[in-house]
Amino acid sequence: MDPNGGSSSAGAADGASDPAAARRRHSKKPKYSRFTQQELPACKPILTPGWVISSFIFVGIIFIPIGLASLFASERVVEIVHRYDKDCVPASYRNDMLAYIQSNETNKTCTRTFLVPKQMKSPVYIYYQLDNFYQNHRRYVKSRSDKQLRSRASENDTSSCDPEDVTANKSAIVPCGLIAWSLFNDTYGFSVNNTLLGVSKKNIAWKSDQQHKFGSDVYPKNFQSGGLIGGAKLNSSIPLSQQVDLIVWMRTAALPTFRKLYGKIEVDLEANSELTVVIENNYNTYSFGGKKKLVLSTTSWIGGKNDFLGIAYITLGGLSLFLAISFLLIYIIKPR
């Protein structure tokens, strides 16, 4: 590190009347410290058979209960998934579903009925699920303007919103961009045993988004006014921070199959009760073969119905116990 470090050493050798004292004074001997001599107290763990086996057993003991618990939680979640994109197209349009959905004349209302398999405790979450819809596509993800959404001052900040940035007469679209443009616009109405159920839209969007990402002074403008309508229209008298469906939609999904929260039913649904849904089937997934599903689900501590984590944990736990036994056998059969 110090290329010239040794140069004075040669000089120290000659002439000094008391070389020993001089040396002591100019000694370049490194100062002793545990750090510089790399002698800091340290723990040096070694994988002994005992440690190996006990760590495997430990993992097994921890993982299997967790797996069981999450499986149990997942089992308790009641979930109704109903695909309606095909069934909601009248038989006469089955061969040209695109024409049906694009036409303004056709009747988009569609009524579906199904049984509630188990009792569903409130709140029952209503989701729509889209398949094969790449909300994570690069072009799509980028086509939005967070600045514009946040404040009215940046209304004209639409540079990143291609191809839905401005109208034909160059005035800015609010909210601009492909994401907002393609806002999901099917609607659902629910009734159980012929009594209408209220759908609550309260708290379906993140509070953080409502407060900080979507401005309360930003109102929709020029929205869906172009030649090509992508999806829902927005009431231009309601500020963006209150447009909860938009806010939910604008949280782009990570994966091509995704659910979005539509609303909540805040009453319990009894088992075997008949649930009728009136669907306004407006959203065009037919052009790219996407599926639309309606999902009603209760929730648990691990989220929705998903056995994967439970199974994974039980498998891992089992594997660990198996490995513990195998290593025990190895240590017994082939001791050092």
Binding site: K29, P30, L40, A42, D165, S182, S208, A254
Partner: protein
């Protein structure tokens, strides 16, 4: 080993043989090429610039005779090659050529040039260019994957940090330059000498230097305070040699200067060159042409000593001075591990390209299949309808989209090539170097020198050394010569009792007692005889012998005051330690050298002061291998005294008289050298008047000759040095350094082959071999000592057969494991320089290599510096093994630079070896802790760090890659760009650096106790292709776990891109840190802090990034963390990802443990009981030293 070259500018008189010029010419093509290049380019800088870098042996000029063997010394300087200097007329000197002024600028940059030049230099690194290209690509709007700032940031940080470091260093250089430039010197002006700043001195100006002043530029001496024109200089700043060297002003100029009428004349000299031991020129004064040699020039940086003043004319100034031309930095070598690493980096780039190809091909297929839908796909929308007529938006056709996808994926996956690795490696090496420098075990008390790391990029090579090439004198031995015994006139004075008498011999001068600084053990019998005077035949010879020792040298006595005013010490300063030893010996026997000027010497012979005129001096040169001095004695006789190596001396000794004496001396010499003494033979002859006149005439003609002066002088010397009568021989002991035998033993146990390359005689070399335990009695010695190619070939072939039979007899092949000594009869090869000439010439190399690689010890004696390099090159060429060369003298420079690792001993012989070396230390025995401990650690740490860095970047890239498969291959990243950028720079870099600096697989105690553990480096246990591919497989698995666990857990859920991205980020960072934690061997608090700290820091960073409302992932992490599945995913990922690695590691360690593993377990459990005691013991040892 000590050859002419370690004695700059002086005559030299030890036994060291050198090859004659004809054999040297054939030693190596490097040299012949160098010298050929020289003769073509004449005296151009490029031709001579080899000198210090040691591509040929550095040779030294001497008084009146350049021993420079190149043709240039014999050639006339042609005008275009020369620089013309008009003495005392700087205007005229500088009008034709723009000579450099004396301003020195070692700073690389000025304020204006700093930015462009520094950037230019930094971008010499290929990795930086790669990242620059990527950052530029990212600026294209079509390819903008990351934001503008984020893409440039990492590169910018790296560049900035390096630039700040460079700027600081440069500022310090500027500051020291300024101090240098503003120093004052006295320059001859219109009215005498005036003070002038150094920076204003110009070529041609006359400068006056007082005692203890530093020379401001290279000056040719014109006159000194000494009437004979001698000036003594110390060159410690130039080459670190602290002894005084003599320089001379020409007699003619001395006369001229004394005339007070102003000096004028023309100096014609060579262009600036780096050769600090060579100078060539002539001077025209008063119509006379005087030749100038290296002894007439004093270089910048030298200090004038023992001379009241000196006057000289500036010939080279500023950056053209030899000191400045030699001011080049440490040599740069590249470590073996880094070379392998580059191979693996190539694999990674292929991998990167294939990932990108996969993505772009898939994207192409997707685009083709959906080509009809693209216009309306809500998430693609190729057409823009905004301005009435539909047009394509951000779509340039299928082909271009594929190209863009490819380039975008390169941008996204860029960290597959680990840029951070290069920076981390440099930081780690600095850290490792710090600990090596700080290590008390590598500190030399005697010379007060620490370990020095001069090259910062080959630390890890120290862990894989297979061959150590060691010099002998000064490296294995102390190079502190001690006169031991003498054979005079056929009598060996060794048997008698020797003791140091009280204060030793002393003389009275002006009421003061003068005594030699060093005491020498004196033989009582010899002392008695020497006191008895010249009466007896015996006494006469003894008298002549010691007179020769005292006179035939270039030692300068310097009188030093002591604390006692009545006592003064005589310090004998000289360039050859052998000569010093001889003069001290002569002083001890009553022949005390009191004074030396260029014209006479004063010797105190048993209290009687005698003055001898030095009529002529033929300096030592490597062809004659002897020196002689012609003395005019007080009794008006003229005598020539010669001393030199035995081989050269016996050829010039009068064989017909005194045959018995010669025989006896020869046998004594053999005895001396077989106990490891260095021997010199002394002879003398009386000159009669005509002989002397003849010689004088020839000598004077030759001294002023302009062409072929060196050859002429050599011829004259040979003429006078014949028909000598033998006086005797001396034996000088060069003591082994402390701990050398143990060190060699350790190195051998570690499987390192130690080759000793020495210039000494065969017998001396073998005896040193025995005393250093290099040779043991159970070894079979094969000696190759030939004078012709044919016989050499034959003996090599015989030797191969012999060694093979010896090895098959023992039935153990020893060359693979390297741990010899246990395996049957080990073979030692001893080969001499003459044979090596034939071997290194060509086709015999292969045979020598075969033979040598089978031998456990190889001893090469009488080798020339370039042959040393040749032997190193031989091994380097034929094996992949790492070589290390260690030496202390200028003659080792070529070897040090040739070897993979060069180590300089900062000892007695100046600093040239140190300047050329990669590492420098005080003692040979430090090689053991350096290699076995630090080398082992560094190798293990660096190997692991490289693999780990490959892994940590690849795992991240693969996670990104898996995600791309779920995004229509549109290269979206779920992990947000800030996290991507910070990942390799901040999130995971600190722990790996800390671990690579601090982790120790074994304690130094264990490593020193079991040198065999060094074998792990030889077997490349810590870094090899197998490990690389295993790591990559593991990487694949771990990345799959990281990606797919959340994917399945959040399949068909409301999770948003940023949220799952945060999960992936945290999972990757925690996983790579856990992975590292699993492999850490020594957990100190620093390691704890680094690993857990960086996990915590990552969490904080992720939270901060998610708390910025303008970013897309605002608050995502909090929403994720609310869900139980988030935590379950993390835990599941960690356990599942690490599991295979853990199982394999446990199985490997249990079933096929390596040496290191066994030692580690032994260390942990074997010593556990004594652990408490051990630490206490260590403390008590170290405590007192601390004070």
């Amino acid at each position: 080993m000590r050859m002419d070259s370690n004695n700059p500018l002086g005559n030299h008189t030890n036994t060291e043989p050198t090859l004659n010029s004809s054999s040297r010419r054939s030693t190596s093509s490097v040299q012949s090429r160098a010298s050929r290049g020289n003769s073509v380019s004449g005296k151009s800088v490029s031709g001579v610039s080899f000198d210090l870098s040691g591509a040929r042996p550095v040779r030294h000029g001497s008084r009146g005779a350049e021993s420079d063997g190149f043709s240039m010394s014999q050639r006339e300087l042609s005008d275009e090659d020369a620089r013309l200097i008009y003495i005392n007329d700087p205007e005229k000197s500088n009008e034709r050529y723009e000579f450099a002024g004396n301003t020195v600028r070692t700073g690389k940059y000025s304020i204006l040039t700093f930015l462009p030049r520094n950037l230019f230099e930094q971008f010499h690194r290929i990795a930086y260019i790669y990242f620059l290209v990527i950052a530029i690509l990212n600026q294209l709007p079509q390819l903008a994957v990351f934001g503008r700032t984020t893409s440039v940031l990492p590169l910018a940080i790296v560049l900035l940090v390096t630039a700040i470091k460079d700027a600081y260093e440069d500022w310090r250089r500027h500051r020291s330059d300024q101090i240098e430039n503003n120093r004052m010197a006295r320059v001859l002006g219109d009215d005498g000498f005036q003070e002038k700043k150094w920076k204003n001195i110009r070529v041609g100006e006359i400068i006056k230097i007082s005692a203890n002043d530093t020379l401001p530029c290279d000056t040719v001496l014109l006159s000194t305070s000494d009437p004979t024109g001698v000036a003594y200089v110390q060159t410690i700043n130039l080459d670190g040699e602290s002894n005084l060297k003599t320089r001379y002003a020409r007699q003619e100029t001395i006369l001229r200067m004394s005339q007070k009428e102003g000096m004028s004349g023309l100096i014609k000299c060579e262009k600036p060159s780096r050769n600090i031991y060579g100078f060539q020129g002539n001077m025209e004064v008063d119509g006379k042409r005087l030749s100038l040699g290296p002894s007439n020039i004093v270089l910048r940086g030298c200090e004038l000593k023992n001379t009241a003043w000196a006057i000289g004319v500036a010939v080279y100034c500023g950056r053209e001075t030899k000191a400045m031309l030699n001011n080049s930095g440490a040599p740069s070598k590249r470590s073996r591990l880094e070379a392998y690493m580059n191979r693996e980096t190539l694999f990674l780039s292929l991998f990167l390209i294939s990932l990108c190809t996969i993505v772009s091909v898939l994207a192409a297929v997707w685009l083709r299949r959906h080509r009809d839908e693209l216009d309306y796909l809500p998430y693609y929308r190729r057409k823009s309808y905004a301005s009435g007529k539909p047009k394509n938006y951000n779509y340039y056709g299928w082909g271009w989209e594929i190209v863009f996808t490819f380039l975008m994926s390169v941008i996204v996956f860029q960290i597959m090539i680990p840029i951070s690795l290069y920076i981390s490696m440099e930081l780690v090496r600095v850290g490792q170097a710090y600990f090596m420098i700080q290590d008390n075990k590598l500190y030399d008390e005697a010379s007060n020198s620490r370990f020095q790391c001069r090259a910062l990029n080959i630390n890890e090579d120290l862990g894989q050394i297979k061959y150590v090439f060691s010099d002998k004198t000064g490296t294995l031995t102390e190079n502190k010569m001690e006169f031991q015994c003498a054979s005079i006139w056929g009598v060996d004075y060794r048997g008698g009792t020797t003791c140091v008498q009280g204060d030793g011999y002393s003389v009275q001068v002006d009421g003061q007692v003068w005594r030699p600084k060093m005491k020498v053990k004196a033989d009582l019998e010899l002392e008695r005889l020497s006191k008895s005077g010249k009466q007896t035949e015996e006494g006469k010879h003894i008298h002549d012998f010691f007179l020769a020792l005292a006179a035939c040298n270039t030692i300068v006595p310097i009188v030093v005051d002591t604390s006692d005013p009545a006592v003064r010490l005589i310090d004998y300063q000289g360039e050859s330690p052998d000569e010093q030893a001889l003069v001290y010996a002569a002083a001890a026997y009553g022949f005390m050298l009191m004074e030396r000027t260029s014209g006479h010497i004063v010797i105190d012979v048993h209290g009687e002061r005698q003055r001898f005129d030095v009529l002529g001096l033929h300096e030592f040169d490597s062809d004659r291998k002897r020196m002689s001095v012609i003395l005019g004695c007080p009794d008006d006789t003229v005598k020539v005294f010669v001393k030199g190596a035995d081989t050269s001396m016996f050829s010039v000794i009068d064989k017909f008289s005194n045959m018995n004496i010669i025989r006896a001396t020869e046998s004594h010499l053999h005895n001396f050298s077989s106990v490891g003494l260095r021997t010199l033979v002394v002879g003398m002859r009386d000159l009669n008047g005509s002989e002397f006149e003849q010689w004088k005439f020839a000598f004077e003609t030759a001294s002023t000759a302009l062409i072929g002066r060196a050859a002429l002088l050599r011829k004259i010397a040979s003429n006078i040095e014949n028909n000598l009568s033998i006086l005797g021989a001396s034996g000088i002991e060069d003591k082994l350094q402390q701990g050398v035998p143990e060190a060699i033993e350790s190195l051998r146990m570690a499987g390192i082959k130690v080759w000793v390359l020495t210039g000494d005689k065969q017998e001396t070399a073998i005896s040193i071999g025995y005393s250093s335990k290099l040779l043991t009695s159970n070894m079979t010695q094969i000696i190759i000592n030939n004078n012709s190619k044919e016989s050499c070939k034959k003996s090599l072939e015989d030797a191969i057969v012999t060694s093979k039979t010896l090895m098959t007899q023992s039935g153990v092949s020893q060359n693979t494991e390297g741990i010899s000594g246990t395996a049957g009869t080990p073979v030692a090869l001893i080969i001499d320089g003459t044979s090596l000439v034939y071997v290194l010439d060509g086709e015999l190399e292969e045979q020598l290599f075969q033979l040598a690689s089978g031998c456990s010890v190889v001893l090469c004696c009488r080798v020339a510096p370039l042959q040393k390099a040749g032997i190193v090159a031989l091994i380097k060429k034929r094996t992949d093994d790492m070589t290390l060369a260690i030496g202390d003298g200028a003659n080792d420079v070529s070897m040090i630079q040739m070897a993979d690792v060069g180590i300089g001993i900062s000892g007695q012989e100046g600093r040239q070896a140190v300047m050329a070396s990669d590492f420098a230390m005080g003692q040979f025995r430090f090689l053991v802790p350096l290699l076995l401990v630090h080398g082992h650690w560094n190798y293990q740490r660096m190997g692991y760090m490289i693999l780990y860095n490959f892994y940590r970047n690849a795992v991240f890239v693969l996670v990104l890659f898996w995600y791309v498969l779920y995004t229509c291959f549109s290269v979206t990243t779920a992990i947000n760009e800030w996290n991507s950028v910070l990942y390799s720079v901040v999130y995971s870099s600190v722990p790996t650096i800390v671990v690579a600096i601090l982790d120790k697989d074994l304690s130094s105690r264990t490593l020193l106790k079991h040198p065999q553990l060094y074998g792990s480096g030889h077997r490349q246990e810590c870094y090899n292709s197998k490990l690389f591919w295993l790591t990559m497989l593991d990487t694949l698995w771990q990345s799959a776990v990281i990606f797919f666990v959340p994917l399945f857990a959040y399949r068909r859920s409301v999770v948003d891109g940023s949220g799952i991205g945060d999960l992936w980020t945290l999972a990757v960072v925690i996983l790579v840190n856990i992975h590292l934690a699993m492999d850490v061997i020594r957990w100190t608090w620093i390691v704890h802090a680094a690993i857990w700290g960086s996990i915590v820091a990552t969490c904080i960073c992720v939270i901060i990034i998610d708390a910025i409302p303008s970013l897309r992932g605002y608050w995502a992490i909090f929403h994720m963390a609310k869900m139980g599945s988030f935590w379950l995913c993390l835990l599941c990922i960690l356990v599942a990802a690490v599991l295979p690695r853990f199982v394999v590691k446990v199985l490997y360690q249990y079933l096929t443990p390596c040496d290191v593993q066994i030692a580690r377990e032994a260390e942990k459990f074997g010593y556990s009981r004594e652990l408490g005691g051990m630490q206490i013991e260590m403390n008590t040892i170290l405590e007192p030293r601390q004070r």
